[in-house]
Amino acid sequence: MTPLARGPRTVTTHAAAPGHQAPAGGGPGGAGEGSRVPAYDKRGLRGAPEARRGNALHAGAWWVWALGLATGASRTTNPLLLGLIVAVAGYVVAVRRTAAPWARSYGAFLRLGLVVIGLRLVFSTLLGSPVPGAHTLVTLPEVALPAWAQGIRLGGRVSAEQLVFAFYDGAKLAALLVCVGAANALANPARLLKSLPAALYEAGVAVVVAMTFAPNMVADVARLRTARRLRGRPTGGVKAVLQIGLPVLEGALERSVAVAASMDARGYGRTAQVPAAVRRTTSALTLGGLLGMCAGTYGLLAAQGAVFGLPVLLLGLALALAGLRLGGRRSLRTRYRPDRWGGRAWLVAGSGAAVAALLAYAAVTDPEGLRPGVVPLVAPALPLWPAAAILIGLLPALVAPVPPKEASSL
């Protein structure tokens, strides 16, 4: 369509992918803002287009990208590489997130990561660690435990090596969490549900409705607390919570009944008839597939299982997909403007996959660089080419459509 509309990096592939328009393409989603850059303005043609309904990046692409980074993070304990992964995810979130409520989740996950590191250090200090260490920092009083609790230690010697090891380990987990947080912040959960297979649609609707309920309940609590003040009662305290609690739950129940009635009256749950054999096959395929996927994922993430992990994961995926496809026969639903998986989605998802693959390769070829030892205690070095591989994860910051300013805070 318009190869010029993309950065130089993208010219080679998928130039004609659907769903990609030049910034001034005048797509049907256009709300007619007058300030749009005209098509012949070179500045407008470089960079990524402004995000609109029509060219929005597939939510799944963000998840693949983030899980790719997470897989990469799981392959290393080098704090410099982990920090780089967190920074890459943070930068992409900073430049590509919208003003939507879920977009603020990156910060929350970052804090959660810090808590995880802190907890890991506290446990290591209290419970000790099998890591031998020569540098004793402090010796805590040791609690004598009964014989049946042999092997558990409380208190005792705390070595620098043991703390550094705990920190590396905690940092790895924190980086994984931050990657999930990044996906959460970037991908619209409702759109992700739209991309779910038809058979999973009903579960998806439950999640969407639940998501809209949380803010409503918060609003209810605020309103009822205000109302308490109007009766001349204090708005805080246990009694207030108890008195407000019941009406809030009542309100939520009433609202859910109203939504259910509305959904029913609007045709929710119209289904097609399918033979019983198809239904049973569907269940078997889906269940088997999901089990296979779980086993495969575990294998991939565990340190030793990479050999059998991938094939099992792929087999499970294939089974589950077949099951879902078969299950979709029951549903009459069609989808309105689902996100399309275009060239940009391939690039975003590919960049994450590349990070995962390269770090997995590096973990095999350069184990010392990716897993710096703690005995003897040495400062971790930055392995150059794995670091460069992580930087590939920055690609979405260039190719993903830019969210309009104040997108959802109007």
Partner: protein
């Protein structure tokens, strides 16, 4: 199109059927209005059309309801979804998704329409309802009128042949209501959609109706007829019909336009000017031109009361000759005094430079479109919101800094949903709690309830009361502390004419007792009946402030029907005209 054959509906545990002997046919391509007092089974009848009664609500339906030839007994609501579109009273309870465009597509997705068809219909519906600018907006950020239009749009996209609406305009300001009704009329005229709609505010809708279906009393069989026929006998009717009945006009006019044609004969029988409505002659109303842009100004009308100690930069620029009087220094503190109040929430200025004074015994109506800041102003007066700048004094105290138990002796606020104020299981328990909260003698509240709401036993559950009764109960609860200032937010939402008349009586008695009353309302008829003064807000600023007759008569949106019919004379209500026509003196409003 819609056919009821000997239909009766009895809910589980109910002694009498909610709907009895309904036997009528709603013709295709017409707008049929369902009218009747509260609690006669209007919602039940509407629910029976979409199949939600009894499939969803339970209960027992006798007889047969067919819609476009489909029997609701054998078709569940989801199987009727392609012929009937239903919008309930609260549009936000109707939404399933979170963005306008997705909401419009939801019904079509459920029906399995091809994507290309869905896309085309969404675009058409966006244009039909004027929603294109809102297509990417989250539903939570829309105003009431916009939500109502989205809700209508969301059931229109599957191209239903019947549209069922339960009080589509009752929560809307006059402008937004016109918008929604214009859309409905367009659907009927251009697309041939059959519309069945229940509405309490007949003054807004009756002139659009092709047919009226009357449910006169609980248990009475519904009667279908032409609007003029039904209005002649209906217990609920808009002011223009009351005026027509009073003047003996025949045929009965249903619209202001028809009534105006007949009005010259009536005007000759009336004195040239209505009896003075205000105890003190008030100066003419101040009206800002280009509403929304002009800065807030203390109304010249309220100049004696609305003081302007330091006038704003803008008012000096415009050289408005507003007389700057010093505030009256009477010993008793004023019920409410607001000076240069500005309230910001995040970046948005909800209220801007509001100056307003309410004196004892005065009733003020706050009007303006949805989101103009009316409720916020009331909340500031009640102390639940703190002003960003400026000063608010209620009974001599700053509301948000005064502890709640002291505040309820100075101000009473009944919120939009009176249920928010009710926690207990019985009326008696609520009353005991209110006495304790206000530090009043035991029995104070119960005495108030008895006088305002006679005949409600102690052990009634507040939820079993009707909308109007619940409102009055909430009012009695907050009046227990003996406050001088009474604030009501949208008190007539969901009330029928009888309940409204009862409320008007109560509020008039309160004002006569010396209570200052501030009502935030969209109901122009209520404002005309009750208010001494009308304050119109737009974009958080006061754009008009003056005696009711002066402010509302010239305004197309806020004028009551009687004022429109008898303009340019300043008649506001039917009771005013009635007392001028009849020889015996009657207590007229205001």
């Amino acid at each position: 199109m819609i056919r009821f054959e000997q239909v009766s509906v009895t809910y589980e545990g109910a002694r009498a059927p909610a709907l009895r002997d309904a036997d009528f046919t709603v013709p295709e391509g017409e707008l049929t209005l369902l009218v009747g007092p509260s609690g006669v089974g209007k919602s039940t009848l509407l629910g029976a059309v979409s199949g939600l009664v009894p499939h969803f609500t339970g209960g027992r339906l006798r007889g047969r309801v067919t819609v476009a030839g489909r029997d609701t007994r054998t078709h569940r609501p989801r199987e009727l979804a392609d012929v009937v579109g239903t919008v309930g009273q609260d549009p936000s309870a109707h939404f399933v998704t979170d963005v306008v465009e997705d909401e419009l597509a939801y019904g079509m997705e459920s029906l399995g329409l091809p994507p290309a068809v869905m896309r085309r219909r969404v675009e058409e519906t966006l244009d039909l309802l004027g929603l294109n600018e809102l297509r990417d907006r989250p539903l939570a950020t829309l105003s009431g009128g916009q939500r109502q239009r989205v809700a209508i749009g969301s059931v229109l996209t599957p191209h239903p042949r019947v549209l069922v609406l339960d009080e589509p305009t009752s929560a809307l300001d006059p402008g937004a209501a016109e918008e929604v009704l214009a859309v409905l009329q367009r659907l009927v005229h251009d697309l041939g959609t059959t519309v069945l709609m229940a509405e309490h505010r007949l003054e807004r809708v009756v002139q659009y109706a092709d047919r009226v279906l009357l449910l006169a009393a609980p248990g009475a069989a519904p009667v279908l007829g032409s609007p003029a026929e039904i209005m002649a006998v209906s217990p609920v009717h808009p002011p223009v019909v009351s005026l027509g009945r009073l003047a003996g006009w025949s045929p009965l006019p249903l619209s202001v336009r028809n009534a105006r044609r007949l009005s010259p004969t009536l005007l000759t029988r009336l004195p040239p000017t209505p009896p003075a409505t205000c105890p003190t002659p008030a100066p003419p109303a101040f009206e800002a031109r280009g509403a929304g842009r002009s800065p807030a100004q203390p109304g010249a009308a309220g100049a004696a009361r609305a003081t302007a100690p330091h006038r704003t930069f803008w008012s000096r620029l415009r050289r408005t000759p507003a007389p700057a009087t010093t505030p009256a220094t009477d010993p008793a503190p004023l019920p409410a005094q607001v000076t240069h109040l500005t309230l910001r929430r995040a970046r948005a200025e909800i209220l801007r430079d509001i100056t307003l004074t309410v004196t004892a015994g005065e009733t003020v109506a706050l009007m303006g479109r949805n989101g103009a800041g009316k409720s916020t102003l009331l909340a500031t007066l009640a102390g639940t919101l703190a002003p960003t700048t400026g000063k608010v004094l209620v009974g001599g105290r700053t509301p948000h800094r005064t502890p709640p138990p002291e505040m309820i002796r100075r101000v009473a606020l009944v919120p939009q949903d009176p249920r928010d104020l009710l926690y207990a299981d019985t009326v008696a328990a609520e009353c005991a709690a209110a006495d304790a909260d206000a530090g009043a003698a035991p029995g104070t509240c119960r005495a108030l309830v008895t006088s305002l709401l006679p005949g409600v036993p102690d052990d009634t559950h507040p939820r079993d009361l009707s909308e109007g009764q619940r409102l009055v109960l909430a009012l009695a609860l907050v009046l227990t502390g003996g406050p001088a200032l009474v604030l009501l937010d949208e008190p007539t939402r969901g009330l029928d004419y009888a309940a409204k008349a009862r409320l008007v009586e109560i509020l008039r008695a309160l004002a006569a007792d010396g209570h200052a009353i501030v009502l935030a309302t969209h109901d122009v008829e209520l404002a005309a009946e009750l208010a001494h003064r009308v304050v119109i807000l737009a974009g958080g600023e006061v754009v008009a402030d003056g005696p009711t007759a002066e402010v509302v008569v010239s305004s197309p949106a806020f004028a009551p029907q009687v004022a429109k019919v008898l303009a340019p004379a300043h008649w506001l209500t039917v009771s005013q005209v009635a007392s001028a026509l009849s020889p015996h003196p009657e207590d007229h409003p205001a």
